[in-house]
């Protein structure tokens, strides 16, 4: 295990210096070639709450099979963007196209049916349901046999299998995050969005969560990741966008952004070498 992990996986925009030990390193990408097809296209998206614009016309693409991350400080509009994509907030302007379908006029139920799922901020597992029932709920719209996918998520998260019949509320924070991801996978999405999956977790668990994110991506899943833990997110991502007060101010590959001076200063800590 790592000895000098000094990680601030929490609120605030001062992300601590992280030296990840073990785990796949920089730019460890999938072997197979990427299709390059754009799966999700967000164009000029605006989201407002009672007249206050949280998202002020942003555009970005998520290519199939890649990990794309939105990083930025608290209140930059990252979560609002994800919520608008999945229909929990109404877009005040712009378009969201997924696989050729326009999402802004659809309800959440339909959007999920179209193959997008969101692992919400704060995990939000159904605490009164068992682990197994949570997974069943993830597959709510499916009418086919779930056993193969249950085996698959249990192989990704062996600890969930041990706690099969336990109420989700009795799990630890890290286990709940794993369950939230597993639950999302059970819908067999084409794209999985994650809102702050590292929030409030111990550094070692954060590392585990990111290992899983890489693993499911390696197996072909497209991922749109929102994080305040910019360092971890940029290391994992193919592509990153920096959001500030509702606008995208920078974009580039994960590695480019991780080495960008502005990003370093604002999100990775000034002392970053």
């Amino acid at each position: 295990m790592s000895d000098k992990n000094k990680n601030v996986a929490s609120t605030g925009n001062t992300v601590g210096k992280v030296t990840s030990a073990g785990g796949p390193g920089f730019g460890n990408k999938r072997e197979e070639g990427l299709s390059g097809k754009v799966l999700l296209k967000v164009d000029g998206l605006k989201v407002s709450y009672g007249g206050i614009e949280a998202v002020r016309g942003i555009s970005f693409d998520v290519p199939e099979g890649e990990i794309v991350t939105l990083i930025g400080a608290n209140g930059a509009g990252k979560s609002s963007t994800l919520r608008a994509i999945v229909g929990l907030e109404k877009a005040a302007g712009g378009t969201i196209t997924f696989n050729g379908a326009e999402l802004t006029s659809m309800g959440t139920e339909q959007i999920v049916k179209n193959g997008i799922t969101l692992v919400p901020e704060g995990r939000r597992v159904f605490v009164n349901l068992s682990v197994y029932e949570n997974l069943r709920m993830g597959a709510y719209l499916r009418k086919d046999d779930l056993s193969a996918d249950l085996e698959w998520v249990y192989s990704l998260f062996p600890r969930l299998k041990e706690r099969h019949w336990q109420a989700a509320g009795t799990l630890s924070g890290g286990e709940q995050q794993m369950l939230a991801i597993a639950r999302a996978l059970m819908s067999r999405p084409q794209m999985i969005m994650m809102d702050e999956p590292s929030l409030g977790l111990a550094p070692i668990i954060v590392q585990e969560v990111f290992d899983i994110i890489r693993e499911i991506n390696r197996q072909g899943m497209t991922i749109l990741l929102v994080e305040q833990n910019a360092n971890m997110a940029l290391k994992a991502a193919d592509k990153g966008y920096v959001m500030e007060t509702g606008r995208i101010t920078l974009n580039g590959t994960g590695m480019e952004l991780a080495e960008n001076d502005e990003v370093k200063e604002a999100y990775l800590g000034k002392s970053h070498k």
Partner: protein, 294 residues
């Protein structure tokens, strides 16, 4: 022996009324579990079920009017939710509650208008209205039938909630609307389902309850509704077993109090119980602990 023979009729009546309260109380507790709303119109839905039965039997045979009563009651419950509660989904809880009180008065006054304020004689349903003798007590079949029918319905409901997909969805929605939507659950359908079940049970309760009474008046639903509400609070609002136990207890104690000759105080007991529960154990017998969702 003397005590028993003297009190058996009251005990039987208590079990029966308790079963009827339970069928109403489940509607309160389920709606609260999902919407965090006390559906004050629920008792009046129960009354409307009584009136529908009265009017439909004047022109239709029983085997049509009974199912018709159940269907009309279910549609009424569902429509009330769609018209009076759904548009207020994102409003403060107080607004929805006031809307519920409004619906309650609306139903009572509509009933007053339609009945002209005259007590409507409830039809006699053969078999369940026929007399039966149990030891020293003579009562109606409905008295004996009610607790059994109630238990069967509750078991069926618990099966539905604990072992079916829609039941799982109901439990999910009761903890977290938004995340339920993320699972692809249509939250509005689940809420409708809750009102369908609640109104269905209220309709059955109404058939049983009014078979023991000569007539229906526009305020007939108020008192049983209030008592069922107290039962739901006593059992821990949101909990179905709690509502059933609370209702049985209230029904039995109320009637035993009548048995010892304190009829005047039988209603008072229920409301004193409400005050005591709210003072000393606001979450009731099986209520969820008052922790906030994380």
């Amino acid at each position: 022996m003397d005590f028993l023979s003297k009190n058996l009729p009251y005990l039987l009546a208590g079990i029966s009324v308790g079963g009827q309260y339970a069928l109403i109380a489940i509607g309160y507790t389920m709606v609260y579990g999902i919407l965090r709303l006390i559906n004050f119109a629920h008792g009046d839905i129960f009354m409307v079920a009584g009136l529908v039965m009265v009017y439909s039997t004047t022109i239709l045979p029983l085997y049509i009017s009974i199912p018709l009563t159940i269907i009309v009651t279910v549609i009424l419950g569902m429509s009330i939710e769609k018209i009076a509660y759904k548009p207020l989904r994102n409003s403060p809880r107080m607004s929805v509650m006031i809307s519920a009180i409004g619906v309650s008065y609306l139903l009572q006054n509509l009933a007053l208008y339609i009945t002209g304020g005259l007590a409507q004689v409830y039809p006699t349903i053969p078999f369940i209205s026929s007399p039966i003798t149990i030891g020293p007590a003579t009562t109606k079949v409905v008295t004996i039938l009610t607790p059994f029918l109630m238990i069967v319905l509750v078991i069926a409901l618990m099966q539905l909630i604990n072992h079916t997909k829609i039941g799982m969805a109901m439990r999910s929605v009761s903890t977290d609307f938004e995340t339920s939507r993320l699972m692809g659950i249509n939250v509005n359908n689940v809420i409708s389902m809750t009102f369908i079940i609640g109104s269905f049970l209220a309709a059955i309760g109404s058939l049983l309850y009014f078979s023991n009474y000569p007539s229906v008046i526009p305020t007939s639903g108020a008192m049983p509704g209030l008592k069922a509400f107290v039962a739901a609070v006593f059992g821990g609002i949101g909990s179905i077993p709690g509502a059933v136990i609370g209702a049985m207890l209230i029904g039995i104690v109320e009637n035993l109090i009548k048995g010892v000759g304190w009829t005047t105080f039988s209603d008072a007991f229920t409301f004193v119980l409400l005050i005591l529960v709210l003072l000393f154990k606001p979450t009731g017998l099986f209520g969820e602990a008052a922790t906030d969702k994380v």
